[in-house]
Subunit: 290 residues, 2 copies
C-alpha cells in the first residue's frame, strides 16, 4: 500500500479533478481535499470523481474556527462545522481536520465577523475553553455521521490568529472528554516539531487511539512575507523527519501520510513536478522509517 | 521602587551613555544592557557610568549559543560565555540571560562557524543535550563569580536558528541539575505567552526560586520581514499582560520588569518617545497587576 497522500492545498491552483488526475498519474492512492475544492464541484460529484479514480480520502480539511463569543457568530460556526461533517461523511472519510481558531482580538485581521468587544479580548484561557465547549456541541452530530473531529495543534506562530491549541498534549487533554472514535489529533510535523514533549505526546496519542492523521512538511527559513505560506518540501528545512516518523510508527499508526504545503514557489510549479518531488522526498526521509 | 527597566535593545541605536541618560531623565531606576553596548565602552567604564547614574542592572544580555558540535566551536562558545560571566560580575548583576542557540543545520544562516556535517544535523534532541552539557561546563565558573545563568526559552519561531529551549517547563527541567542560585529562567511574555502550561510553569519557577527576570513585550501581526524584529510595544498586540503579570506576581517575584523590543519602527523613534510610551503602557497593563 502506498500511504502517501496529496493534500490539495499543496497543489493549490489545481481543481479537484486536476488534483485527482495528477495523483493517479503519479501512482498515489489517496488525497486529502480541502473543502473549497470539494464545494466547487459539489460533494456528491466530488465523491464520485474520487471513487472513480480509485483513491482514498485521507482527511477532509477543514472545520474549526470555534472561538467566537457572541451567539450569532457561535451559531454560524456550528452551522459551518455541521456542513463540514456532512461533507466528510459524504466523501467517506472518518477524519475531519479541525483548525480551532484564534483570539477574538485577531478576528478583524482574519476577516471574521467581530464586535468592538472582541477587539479587546486577549483572554487565551477563555478562548481555549470555548473551543472545548463547541467541541462538545459538535461531537454528537459528528458521531452519528461516523466522522471523527481531528484536533490539529498549530505552531505557536499561529496562536493569535488561527489556533489556540499549540501542543499535541494540550489537544489530547481536550480530546479526553470524548471517546477516541469521536475526537482525535493531527500530527503535522510543521506545527509540532519544536515541542520538547513531542515523543511522549505522540506515544500518548497512540496509546489512546487518537492519531487521526500524520502530515509532513518542513520548517524553512526565512519565513515568507505571508507567514502562512512558509511551509517547505520535506528536506528543504530543519525538521528531523526520520526521528519524528519513527515515533509515529511506534504508535502503530497505519494510515495515510499527507503532504500539505503552503508555499508560493511550490504552487507556481506544475502539479506533476510537485508530486514527483514529494514522492522522492517521502521515499528518502519518511518511508524508510515507517 | 520603580521596577520598570529599559533593555538597551529597545533603543537599539543609542549608546550605553545615551540609554543611561534617557532612562534617568524618564525616572527609571534600572537598565538591562546588551553586551555590545557594554563592550563598546569597556566593562569597567560601563559599570562606572551606570553607578554614577544611580541605576540598577536588571540583567546582562546575553550569553548562550551552546549547541556547537566540534571541539573548536565548543571551546569558542565556552570562552565567550566565560567573558559574558565576567562582564555580568563586573557590572554587578546576578543575572546573565542565556539564549541557548539553534540547530547545527541553521548555523550557516546565523553566520556561525560550521562544517559540512553541521549542514545535515537536524537532531533537536541531541542539540538540547549539548546545551545541558555546556551549562554544566559553565556553572562552576559562574558560581564563583556570583552570576546566575538565566535560561531564556524562545518562541518556537526561533527553535531552528536561535533557541532549542522552547518552554519554561523544559528550561526548568534543564535547570534542575543545578541549584536555584546557579541556574534560573527568564519569563519573557513574547516567547512564552502561547504555552498551555504557562501558569503552572511560572508557579513552578517561583516555587523553585528560579525566576531570574520578567520581561514584557507584545506579539504583533503581521510579522516583520525580518521576523526577529517583530516584537511590539505592550498593548499593540495580542498578549494578555494583566493575566500573565498576575501569575508572575503570585510567585513573589520582586525584581525588575524589563522591556526588550526589537522593532524597526520603534528603533526609528527618539529614545525618549520610546521610553515614555513604554512607561505609559507599563502603568496601564503591567504595574496594576504586580
Amino acid at each position: 500500500m502506498n500511504r502517501l497522500s496529496l493534500n490539495t492545498a499543496t497543489t493549490k491552483y489545481l481543481t479537484l479533478a486536476e488534483c485527482i488526475d495528477v495523483a493517479t498519474r503519479c501512482g498515489l492512492e489517496a488525497i486529502g481535499p480541502w473543502r473549497d475544492r470539494v464545494q466547487e464541484v459539489g460533494t456528491d460529484k466530488a465523491r464520485h470523481l474520487i471513487d472513480a479514480a480509485g483513491l482514498r480520502v485521507s482527511t477532509l480539511c477543514r472545520g474549526g474556527f470555534l472561538t467566537a463569543r457572541d451567539t450569532d457568530a457561535i451559531d454560524a460556526a456550528l452551522a459551518d462545522n455541521r456542513l463540514a461533517i456532512d461533507e466528510a461523511s459524504t466523501l467517506g472519510t472518518h477524519e475531519l481536520v479541525m483548525v480551532v481558531g484564534g483570539l477574538p482580538s485577531a478576528f478583524a485581521s482574519m476577516g471574521l465577523a467581530h464586535s468592538d468587544a472582541d477587539d479587546e479580548d486577549r483572554d487565551l484561557v477563555a478562548a481555549r475553553q470555548r473551543v472545548a465547549d463547541r467541541l462538545g456541541d459538535l461531537v454528537p452530530y459528528a458521531r452519528e455521521r461516523g466522522v471523527r473531529l481531528a484536533l490539529e495543534p498549530m505552531h505557536p506562530l499561529f496562536t493569535a490568529d488561527r489556533g489556540v491549541l499549540t501542543t499535541l498534549g494540550q489537544s489530547l487533554d481536550m480530546a479526553a472528554d470524548h471517546s477516541p472514535a469521536e475526537v482525535g489529533v493531527v500530527v503535522d510535523t510543521y506545527h509540532v516539531w519544536w515541542d520538547p514533549n513531542l515523543r511522549e505526546s505522540i506515544a500518548r496519542a497512540g496509546q489512546e487511539g487518537r492519531v487521526s492523521s500524520y502530515q509532513v512538511c518542513d520548517w524553512i527559513l526565512p519565513l515568507a512575507a505571508n507567514t502562512l505560506n512558509s511551509r517547505g518540501m520535506m528536506g528543504d528545512g530543519y525538521i528531523d523527519f526520520p526521528t519524528i516518523t519513527s515515533w509515529v510508527r511506534d504508535t502503530g499508526y497505519n494510515g495515510d501520510i499527507e503532504v500539505e504545503i503552503f508555499n508560493e514557489t511550490i504552487w507556481a510549479q506544475p502539479g506533476q513536478v510537485t508530486v514527483n518531488t514529494m514522492q522522492e522526498r517521502y521515499r528518502k526521509l519518511v518511508e524508510p522509517y515507517l
